[in-house]
């Protein structure tokens, strides 16, 4: 926001800081394994959270790839979500993780599923007077892994294309999968029908190619200085396959 003010874009008459509200910082793991991250938790703190593993590693990996060290010491989870920049890392990662966004306002608290939170470029389901107080990540299942794959021109830039994956795997087959694609439209996108078609498969190259085709068809990437729309569509299939493979090979070595 201050960057925008410096550039003369928003000219707020009032700014309310949330930085001294202690309840808006930190992360807790609940009894069932669900994780709550408060809205004012900075990216550096999330990036250092070893408890974000398995099916939730995607959130830690995204935090670690946001911009640069000084920015990660300043930027917050809630700030990134409220900004809803279509090229940002957290929105894509949280969509794959299946997060619930916890909101509070004059009429009380409510939960907004991440699938319904991002409405368009820089536009969210936040109502006037509401703030984000945190996110809740569904408990990771035993045989789940996840990853965030960011393809960018240089380290620290916004993604040209990013892919976030949360996948369940048992007895040699996929039991559940969420795939989110970033920087390819006004919001990060999922294609639930393509995800459903992957359940029960071995996530082999042929199955992933079909899924990637559905994502290419569903997305609406921009043409800008990071790449043309055609270029982005061209690299999506390779990145999607790589992201799923990375997720399956992550820390627990589910699949060789």
């Amino acid at each position: 926001m201050v960057a925008g003010m410096n550039a003369g874009l928003p000219k707020p008459s009032q700014v309310v800081s949330l930085q001294d509200i202690p309840g808006l910082r930190g992360m807790i793991v609940e009894a069932d394994g669900a994780v709550r991250i408060a809205a004012m938790t900075v990216h550096a703190a999330v990036a250092a959270e070893s408890r974000l593993a398995g099916g939730l590693a995607v959130v830690r990996e995204a935090a670690l790839q946001i911009a640069h060290p000084a920015i990660r010491n300043m930027g917050t989870l809630g700030g990134s979500l409220a900004d809803a920049d279509p090229n940002a890392d957290y929105p894509c990662a949280l969509l794959a993780a299946g997060a619930d966004i916890e909101l509070a306002g004059p009429r009380g608290r409510r939960i907004c599923p991440v699938d319904a939170f991002f409405l368009g470029r820089f536009t969210t389901a936040l109502a006037a007077g509401e703030i984000i107080v945190g996110v809740k990540l569904p408990p990771p299942a035993l045989e789940e892994t996840s990853t965030y794959l960011k393809f960018s021109r240089v380290d620290g830039d916004y993604a040209t294309v990013s892919v976030a994956v949360r996948v369940g795997w048992r007895d040699g087959a996929c039991t559940a999968i969420r795939i989110a694609l970033g920087s390819c439209g006004g919001t990060p996108i999922r294609v639930p029908s393509a995800e459903r078609a992957l359940v029960g498969t071995k996530l082999d190259v042929a199955a992933l190619r079909i899924a990637a085709g559905a994502y290419v068809a569903a997305c609406d990437p921009p043409s800008d200085f990071r790449g043309t729309a055609d270029y982005r569509r061209m690299i999506i299939p390779g990145l999607l396959e790589r992201a799923v493979r990375n997720a399956l090979n992550a820390d627990r070595g589910i699949r060789s």
């Binding site: 201050v2 960057a3 410096n6 008459s13 930085q19 640069h68 060290p69 920015i71 620290g156």
Partner: protein
């Protein structure tokens, strides 16, 4: 933009300060324009270039992106605060000795990044050094000697002989 003013009390390089400022001033503007600490530079003013890096309560941040009112009662350290008794810090001396300075504009931000890195990790690899300065743009593209300088500072820091130890103390 509001014309309201407030008095900001905080510590800068160990000294208590109280300055009357318009409430929308950034920390960078207060440091440069009110306190004449011009080590932190106004490069991009949008958080991209890293030339304005300072430490707030020992955490490195972009001073152009912090409203000054948000550092009330905090401890701010600028590049000027790294030297002591007229003696350059280990990192500053290593930048001089390694010839890591071209036009100099990015250098103070680089030194703050390097100091923050070495305070946490006194034996960084070259890759870790590159990551630490990844948010510092050098338009002379003089990155190799900057990495050399930080390696030199780290090696002196680890050797820690008495004469150098004083200069090497990383004060954050």
């Amino acid at each position: 933009m509001s014309t309201d003013r407030t008095t900001l009390s905080f510590h800068v390089n160990g000294d208590p300060q109280a300055v009357a400022i318009p409430i929308h001033r950034t920390l960078l503007e207060v440091l440069r324009d009110e306190l004449a600490l011009t080590g932190a530079k106004k490069g991009c003013n949008t958080g991209t270039c890293g030339a304005c890096n300072v430490l707030v309560d020992d955490v490195m941040i972009r001073s152009c992106l912090r409203l000054a009112v948000s550092v009330a009662e905090c401890k701010v350290t600028t590049v000027e605060g790294l030297a002591r008794n007229g003696m350059a810090s280990a990192v500053q001396q290593a930048f001089l000795d390694a010839g890591a300075i071209q036009c100099g504009f990015c250098m103070t931000g680089m030194i703050v990044s390097a100091s923050a890195l070495l305070a946490q990790n006194p034996a960084p690899t070259r890759d870790e050094i590159r990551i630490a300065i990844s948010g510092n743009l050098c338009r002379c593209s003089g990155y190799v000697k900057v990495v050399d300088a930080i390696e030199l500072a780290a090696s002196r820091f680890r050797q820690g002989n008495a004469a150098e130890a004083a200069a090497m103390e990383i004060r954050i």
